[in-house]
Symmetry: C2
């Protein structure tokens, strides 16, 4: 792999956000702490990958994982840390940009209304 002239921090940040599902997971967590199954239900990502991404995000300090042993089945809640919350304007920015510029083609429209 080659070397780049980019700032390594920016490069690492991009590498994080530029991983499949990361952005959507963080966006989903913007609305508040959520359980594993809630995230799994809200996003078209498999449990395997969701688990992997959440582990990464926790390690990088964007997401906090809290286990509740008291309640009935062990409940696990994921929430954004300060670092994660600091991404809010970026995620909202992407949302706005998408609304303004993205167009869906026939396939995508179809995909969205069925199956």
């Amino acid at each position: 792999m080659k070397e780049s002239t980019l700032c390594p921090k920016f490069e690492k940040g991009m590498q994080l956000l530029g991983k499949r599902w990361t952005g959507l997971i963080l966006y989903q967590l913007l609305s508040g702490p959520q359980r594993f199954c809630a995230l799994e239900g809200a996003l078209p990502v498999s449990g395997r990958l969701l688990s992997e991404r959440l582990k990464d995000l926790e390690k990088e300090g964007l997401v906090h994982r809290q286990v509740f042993t008291d309640s009935a089945p062990v409940r696990v809640e994921y929430s954004l840390t300060e670092m994660g919350k600091a991404l809010t304007p970026v995620l909202k920015g992407i949302e706005t940009w998408s609304q303004s510029w993205i167009e869906l083609n026939a396939d995508e429209m179809a995909n969205d209304s069925e199956e």
Copy 2:
């Protein structure tokens, strides 16, 4: 693949930016139109992937490709379209966020100074 409750436009936007190298390529193009080899030199991405990504970005309308047949060896310049330029605040936002929050570990520091 499951269905999501997300806005399909946002989902598609995220899918675009959440592809490896896309963000860095767009960021690199913020500084003005650039040739294939310039991008290849500036980013740690291989020609194969760069070509693939640029083709995607062109198809999605973020990037414009212009060929100059007049000059010596065929020159190809890539530049941001309006749609691409509209991402400026997002990309800058990620840059700022990275500067503030990302920490590099020993490996990454080492990787950056040699090889």
